[in-house]
């Protein structure tokens, strides 16, 4: 019985020492909270050179989005930070019909992601309690699946590589 409990205790200690699962990072420190933009047709030349996807493509831009992530709990750790989208997006009939891409000013990596997925935007040592960058987002989707106004909330996650 003592040996069994001892093994259980050792197992629990080992589990606690394993790298953490992804944790959500707050972007509540960001300046602009509700960003209202509009879709427009991506291609205004509607000739035969457009395939069906291009013909129905709409695009919206959100530029100069000052994004501030609260990394105060992770200073001096080696970590990965991800940007992802929830699989369910209000107003979207088919998650695969939306893609979000972005460029930044350099702290975070450029990338592209679809709902239900995430993309690595940072890997390295967390040196500041707040990590800030300017994002230029582009949202592109197929207008045939745009049923109502989209409401989209990017999700930022952090995984600790080593404490």
């Amino acid at each position: 019985m003592v040996r069994t409990l001892g093994r259980l205790l050792l197992l629990l200690v080992c589990l606690q020492a394993l790298p953490s699962q992804a944790q959500r990072l707050s972007d509540a420190l960001s300046q602009q909270q509700q960003i209202n933009i509009e879709f427009d047709w991506k291609h205004h030349n509607t000739g035969d050179e457009l395939d069906t996807k291009e013909f129905n493509a709409v695009v919206a831009h959100a530029r100069n989005v000052n994004t501030r992530l609260d990394t105060s709990d992770f200073v001096d750790t080696q970590a990965r930070i991800f940007l992802g989208l929830p699989v369910q997006v209000r107003g979207l009939n088919n998650p695969q019909r939306l893609s979000v891409s972005w460029t930044t000013n350099g702290l975070f990596q450029n990338g592209e992601v679809t709902p239900g997925n995430r993309r690595l935007i940072f890997e390295g040592r967390i040196s500041e309690p707040v990590m800030q960058d300017i994002f230029n987002f582009t949202f592109e989707m197929d207008a045939r699946f745009l049923s109502e106004m989209l409401r989209l909330e990017p999700v930022y996650e952090i995984e600790i590589i080593s404490p």
Binding site: G6, L12, R24, F39, L146
Partner: protein
């Protein structure tokens, strides 16, 4: 031996309590991690600003396309159809987001007969067409101002090629008869 066994059971009870306390503390920590889920602050609200679009092109862009029928003197009114000298492409386009779909209607105005400039006329209903793809079906001009040819729901692009034919059923004064039909593509 009995004394040893009694000593072992006493130590086990303390260990059990300590272990249970440790497990509970760790479970609380894991649960705390699971529920620590800061809400997103930046929210994008993306509206449907893409305007509905319709487009039509009949023949060449920005010009009136002419179709000629040449009827031989000894064939006038024979009933043998006479084909036009060219085929005309009709291209339609209508697109709109799924949130606000449209239906487009293609009509033609053939109410003004062909005339030779001297008062003689030939109704446009003497002209028919054969459609290549059938998206804008084969038919004859009705000689009316608002003949509906086809309708399409957004979003779609349609191209059909029409080959025109003069029915040559009646005898008319010799001469050159000119006329014009006008296609309209609209979404109410």
């Amino acid at each position: 031996m009995i004394k040893t066994m009694m000593l072992t059971r006493h130590i086990s009870t303390r260990n059990i309590v300590a272990t249970l306390l440790l497990i509970s503390a760790m479970l609380v920590g894991w649960i705390a991690d699971a529920v620590t889920n800061p809400a997103a602050a930046i929210v994008f609200n993306i509206g449907n600003g893409s305007p509905a679009e319709i487009y039509i092109q009949v023949g060449r862009r920005n010009s009136i396309s002419r179709v000629r029928f040449r009827v031989a003197n000894d064939d006038v009114g024979s009933g043998n159809p006479v084909s036009g000298n060219r085929r005309i492409d009709i291209q339609l386009l209508i697109r709109a987001p799924a949130a606000s779909p449209l239906t487009g209607f293609l009509t033609v105005d053939s109410s003004t007969p062909l005339n030779n400039g001297s008062g003689a006329t030939i109704p446009v209903s003497e002209i028919s067409w054969t459609a290549s793809s059938g998206d804008i079906p084969s038919d004859s001009f009705a000689g009316t101002s608002n003949q509906q040819l086809a309708s399409f729901n957004s979003s779609v692009r349609v191209t059909d090629r029409h080959t025109f034919s003069y029915k040559n059923r009646n005898i008319y004064d010799a001469g050159t008869y000119n006329g014009q039909v006008t296609y309209t593509w609209f979404a109410p």
